[in-house]
């Protein structure tokens, strides 16, 4: 039997690959409670990685998409609406599978892009790995969902704000940066918090889809399921992973609550909307 300290040393970074800690996962009757606690915790690294990067990258794409969908130019709004419908209308699980099959179909050697004066080769092999391929899917997916939220906020911006901006002689990008964008953020923030929570939860799907878990390095749920299969006892590993995700959700709510406070800091204290987590399950 391993002591708790030993399983901590062996498994706390195991999800990064076989080189970090014990190469073999604990098996059969050898599994201790500490093994489960620490190995599942190490899987959380990937959940945080996927969620943080996808959200950060998706934020910018979503802003662009929302503005494009709101635009009066059909050449901008139609493609943006189509993109949003494609990713919001189909299950993320299927998107993972489909994307993986597309990624492995890409030529092994890379795609030759023929510029007039030179040829560059775009490497495509890295896309078949979960760490990058699944991240791309999550990134596009959250961009679409967030764009819809931002689009709704964009439509709800008070007319008076825009007229005041016009009266001050603002136009174009200045108006967007100083008036439209901050108000849009303020209005969208509660729903955006929900989306962030949903995305954090959606990261558990990555290693159940087409993307292979290389060297048995997976996310928290991957290890929880591994333990449930090994011990035939779902009453230990699933509650552990559930507890971790409750903590992770609370962290997300805390971070987004702080941002919300900052976004609304100019409003008088009495009018300032109290940030409350209202799970609307709008996804």
């Amino acid at each position: 039997m391993r002591s708790c300290q030993e399983s901590f040393d062996a498994y706390i970074l195991r999800s990064l690959g076989g080189d970090y800690g014990e190469r073999l996962l604990p098996r059969g009757v050898d599994i201790t409670l500490c093994d489960q606690v620490f190995l599942i915790a190490s899987g959380l690294i990937w959940n945080v990685y996927f969620a943080a990067l996808a959200l950060a990258a998706g934020f910018f794409v979503a802003t662009a998409l929302a503005v494009a969908k709101f635009s009066e130019n059909p050449f901008l709004s139609k493609p943006a609406s189509g993109f949003i419908f494609l990713f919001r209308g189909s299950p993320l699980f299927i998107q993972f599978f489909f994307a993986y099959e597309v990624f492995i179909l890409l030529p092994r050697a890379g795609i030759e892009i023929n510029l007039i004066f030179t040829t560059i080769t775009a490497e495509t092999r890295w896309l078949a790995r979960a760490t990058s391929g699944a991240l791309v899917v999550l990134w596009l997916n959250t961009s679409a969902y967030t764009a819809e939220i931002f689009y709704g906020a964009l439509r709800a911006i008070p007319k008076g704000d825009l007229e005041a901006a016009d009266a001050y002689g603002m136009s174009g990008f200045t108006k967007f940066r100083r008036i439209i964008w901050p108000t849009m953020m303020r209005l969208a923030w509660p729903s955006y918090t929900n989306e962030a929570i949903f995305l954090t939860h959606a990261t558990t799907l990555v290693f159940f889809s087409g993307f292979p878990a290389w060297q048995q390095s997976g996310d928290a749920l991957y290890y929880a399921r591994y333990f449930a299969d090994q011990t035939f006892n779902p009453f230990v590993s699933y509650p552990i992973v559930a507890a971790y995700f409750i903590v992770l959700t609370l962290v997300v709510i805390g971070l987004f609550g702080m941002a919300n406070k900052r976004l609304n800091r100019h409003l008088p204290q009495t009018v300032r909307p109290k940030f409350r987590f209202r799970p609307q399950y709008i996804r």
Partner: protein, 293 residues
């Protein structure tokens, strides 16, 4: 399927495809679309029933019942639904077997959990190992259905609870002023009016439910995803219909299936919303009244 399908390797293209797409495994693939639809159509009313019970429990005047309702509705907030989908079927399975074991084999003296095994006597297996295969299939499907209903019931309970609170207080107060009892006021006044407030939330839930159905695959049911992977994989010359890796096309079909399902659902919900707004004291209802007048 067709008479000319006896030797596929000699067929011209269109006949080859006609035979290929109607082979036994493909018919199972098409059938799995029906299974998904059945799951959605069964899970929705069950989830609604669970949700209704949850919402009523949350509104209850008795503290213990309220606590149960609160726990149930907040259960799905912090935890990914997929954890529940993986956990609930196996937990229920083991619970059933444990209870049956206590009832049917009282004189069994060995522990049930031995090392990493969960052992019950043969009479307590659910379903019995002598049962035909379709019983096993139905059992696995019902467990999945229960898991879906439980998780989405918790979502629905939240929506319905909000909708019940959204009905203007004056409506129920008026009902009570007319001498209706609390249950009567609930049935005759609150219940018919709450749907218009619940519908946006419920339509959202329906969309989420649709998009959760591919997770059946994780429960070991031969659903769309299973067949798409199975049929699309590369087939060598040993098979009747050899072909390269076509999984991407199969998943494209599945993707389109879900997109069509979503688009159709959106239409239906728009129509429903129009129906429910009819004669209601809301902005949309008022607009309808003006247009008709």
């Amino acid at each position: 399927m067709f008479a000319f399908c006896t030797d596929p390797s000699t067929l011209p293209d269109w006949q080859w495809f006609a035979c290929y797409l109607t082979s036994g495994t493909h018919l199972a693939f098409y059938w799995s679309f029906v299974v998904v639809m059945v799951l959605i159509l069964l899970a929705a009313p069950f989830a609604l029933a669970f949700g209704f019970a949850g919402a009523l429990a949350t509104r209850s005047h008795m503290a213990p019942i309220r606590l149960v309702g609160r726990t149930y509705t907040s259960m799905v907030r912090g935890v990914p639904d997929i954890v529940f989908f993986l956990f609930i079927p196996i937990a229920i399975d083991q619970a059933l077997e444990y209870i049956l074991h206590q009832v049917r084999c009282p004189d069994w003296d060995m522990p049930i959990r031995r090392g990493n095994d969960f052992l019950v006597c043969a009479q307590a297996k659910v379903p019995l190992s002598s049962s035909p295969a379709w019983v096993h299939d139905i059992y696995a499907f019902s467990l999945a259905l229960f898991a879906f209903a439980l998780v989405f019931g918790a979502f629905a309970a939240n929506t319905l609870y909000g909708a019940m609170n959204a009905v203007p207080k004056s409506q129920t107060e008026t009902a009570e002023a007319y001498g209706m009892t609390k249950p009567q006021a609930f049935r005759r006044v609150l219940l018919p009016q709450m749907w218009v407030y619940a519908l946006p939330g419920l339509s959202n839930l329906w969309m989420i439910l649709i998009k959760a159905t591919p997770l059946l695959f994780l429960l070991g049911i031969r659903d769309i995803v299973y067949w798409a992977r199975e049929l699309g994989g590369q087939k060598t010359g040993f098979y009747a219909y050899p072909h390269p890796d076509w999984r991407v096309w199969y998943f494209l079909v599945v993707l389109v299936f879900y997109l069509v399902l979503t688009a159709c659902s959106e239409r239906v919900f728009e129509w429903l919303m129009r129906r429910f707004s009819h004669g209601q004291a809301t902005a949309a209802g008022e607009r309808q009244r003006r247009a008709a007048a």
